[in-house]
Amino acid sequence: MSDLLAARTQMALSLGFHIVFAEIGIAMPLLMVLAEWRWRRTGDEVFLRLAKRWAKGSAILFAVGAVSGTVLSFELGLLWPHFMQFAGPIIGLPFSLEGFAFFTEAIFLGVYLYGWNRISPRAHLTAGLLVAMSGAASAIFVVMVNAWMNTPTGVTMSGGQIASIDPIAGMLNPSSFQQSLHMLLAAYAATGLAVAGIHAAILLRKPDSRFHRRALTLALMMGTPAAILQPISGDVSARTVAIWQPTKLAALEGQFATERGAPLRIGGWPDVDAQRTRFALEVPRGLSLLAFHDIDAEVKGLAAFPRENWPPLPPVHVGFQLMVGLGTAMALVSLWAAVVMARTGDVMRHRWLLRALAIVTPFGFIATEAGWTVTEVGRQPWVVQGILRTADAVTPMPGLIVPMLAFAALYIGLSAIVVRLIMTMVRETM
């Protein structure tokens, strides 16, 4: 394995690990606040038990999120020193603001978790709300950085050197809004439906548990709106990609030839040598319609770009199909739940709906991993689109496979432990 590949693998593993805890860190505080608020309003002790249960589970996930995020901040330099030397002054600003978001999050998390009996009810609820808000803020700031890597504005180059920079323009680059929105929705949808799915599975066995009924309702309140909006937000993202990163668009759609009225391909496998995508279900003119809102629009194919600027095609195309497929399933199940809820006010008696919810439990997190694969691998060979190549950003330190394997082992071990602990906790509620 080359050092470059080892570095990329380590980065991907670290981010793929962190993002799960980050999403939970964004969304769980909102759920806890919802539960606590319902308890204060109704006096129903079940809500209080729920808030405390969720808080206990989340405490573990928060800590793992915090330490894995710390690893990432250093890894940016350990693996990509030339990238950070180049990009630090431009995108350091959102990172610094994120630092303060981490502070408020960590501070009020401490207050929330350990302050049940120390502060007034209102102060406690406010602390929870602040945790939820700062989690969302930190996601927005860090995704702005990633958006800048995709659509780098605020920097002018001359002769391979930086001529001038404008950090504000870098922060407010053309993808910042779309990507942050999509990421936040992903966090609420993935976490909300995962929690809903776990409680739905338990309800299938113990339909009368008030605890799990309340839990399911709250989780659906958070998860379903996000899951229904997610495809719309994904469409906005895709159109931004179509304008700014045509190679990425061609790669994620498996589009080799430049054509007007390009079809939308569902599934399939891009055959790089034959330069065509096989086994895909084609919806005529679908891609032109979705990407440019015009059935005759011209879509640039990969053939229009030099071969050395193509990203690795299979992971990008398959990742995209996976994300969209899972996202569609989540949106449909959410719509179903919303309709049942509106018509009968009670999802608990629909065993088929409960089964469907149980099935989609992991979908959001898988879609997230797939989506980041699309974004990051789809940008290759660039680390900063059109400006800095990944191969030029990597550290000169040799033997990178060693730290990569060490972190891989660490993450596998931690995942196993976290899963076991959470499963024990869930079983305790049964």
Binding site: K56, G88, L97, F103, M397
Partner: protein, 355 residues
């Protein structure tokens, strides 16, 4: 006198940001450092009150360690935003110790929550406790090693020879050397001292427990003095620049005097059981040591080649950063005060409410 006025006239935006960076490191050492020290005392807990000691340590750390930990992230972010050249130089040459430190940080944080929230079975908890405590002990040593190797100037030298020297000469020998290791042990001793002093206050009016930590603090003070002497001795050869700054600079004698005064005050206050004064003096002592190191390196970030000015980002970045830091501080300072007030003396109160 003239050197002092030259110093002040050379202060610009880059120096201000560098100062804030040292301030953040200072906060990390005072707050996060004590959390590491707590881990060491968990490892070394002994005597009839062994479990009570571990309990007090866990209760003092639990609500605040995540917040304390963010200071380190602030240091890193400031470094790559404001001094990208310094960041990349350090990240390349010190890849191995930084990675070791990260693994320590991950193990320590996760083991701590696994112990608090995981199985209530005694044996499992103890196993997580040992993992937490060992990682807490190793991590500050590595942090000290990193600081020591930067101070020695070997990092900069190695950085200039990338591609022209063997792997070990660039990536290993700058930090795996007597002086950095002595600084690492010095850092561990300092954190242990700080933690023990804090814990005497945290113990509230449990006199027996308080005296346990008083004895530990006094022992740690001896270790601090010992490793300071070793580091100073080794630095004559390994880090002549630092030693020149530390003993020779025009401000140095003043800093030294203050450091010595706080060290003696801390020990006397411990002896006389004035624990709050001891805590203040110990914090002052560590602060002065850190700033002594920073001032001795000035104007270099990575001595002897990368200076603050050379490494600094364009002024537009620094200006925006300063504005951002100002705005952030407005949020941070009241929140932090609220946190510390909410949990002040928590261990003592917890006992009240349970009895």
């Amino acid at each position: 006198m003239s050197s002092a006025s030259a110093f002040f006239s050379s202060i610009g935006l880059p120096e201000i940001i560098a100062g804030i960076m040292v301030l953040a490191l200072n906060a990390y050492v005072l707050m996060g450092g004590a959390d590491y020290g707590g881990g060491l005392w968990d490892l070394l807990a002994s005597g009839p009150r062994r479990d009570a000691q571990r309990d007090l340590i866990a209760k003092s750390i639990a609500p605040i360690w995540e917040a304390n930990h963010v200071w380190l992230i602030v240091v890193v972010v400031l470094m790559f935003t404001a001094f990208p050249l310094a960041f990349s130089t350090l990240a390349i040459v010190l890849h191995i110790p930084i990675t070791l430190m990260l693994i320590g940080i991950v193990l320590r944080g996760s083991a701590f929550v696994f112990r608090s929230y995981g199985s209530s079975e005694r044996r499992t908890r103890r196993r997580w406790g040992v993992a937490f405590a060992s990682a807490s002990t190793v991590t500050p040593i590595v942090l000290g090693v990193i600081i020591g190797s930067v101070a020695s100037g070997d990092v900069a030298t190695a950085s200039g020879r990338i591609g022209a020297a063997r792997f070990t000469e660039i990536f290993v020998s700058p930090w795996l050397a007597p002086f950095p290791i002595a600084v690492g042990l010095f850092a561990l001793a300092l954190f242990a001292f700080l933690a023990a002093v804090y814990l005497t206050v945290e113990a509230g009016d449990d006199a027996a427990l308080r005296d346990d930590f008083r004895a530990r603090a006094l022992a740690a003070a001896l270790a601090v003095a010992f490793f300071a002497a070793v580091a100073l001795f080794l630095s004559r050869r390994a880090a002549p620049r630092v030693i020149e700054g530390v003993v020779g600079g025009s401000w140095a004698w003043l800093l030294h005097l203050c450091t010595a005064i706080s060290a003696v005050t801390a020990i006397l206050a411990l002896w006389g059981r004035n624990f709050r004064l001891a805590r203040l003096a110990a914090a002052a002592q560590i602060t002065l040591i850190l700033w002594g190191w920073a001032v001795s390196q000035y104007p270099f970030i990575v001595p002897m080649t990368v200076s603050i000015r050379q490494a600094s980002a364009p002024s537009v970045t620094l200006t925006l950063l300063l504005i951002g830091l100002g705005g952030g501080a407005l949020v941070l300072i009241p929140s932090l005060r609220y946190l510390l007030r909410t949990f002040a003396g928590r261990a003592a109160e917890a006992k009240e409410s349970s009895s």
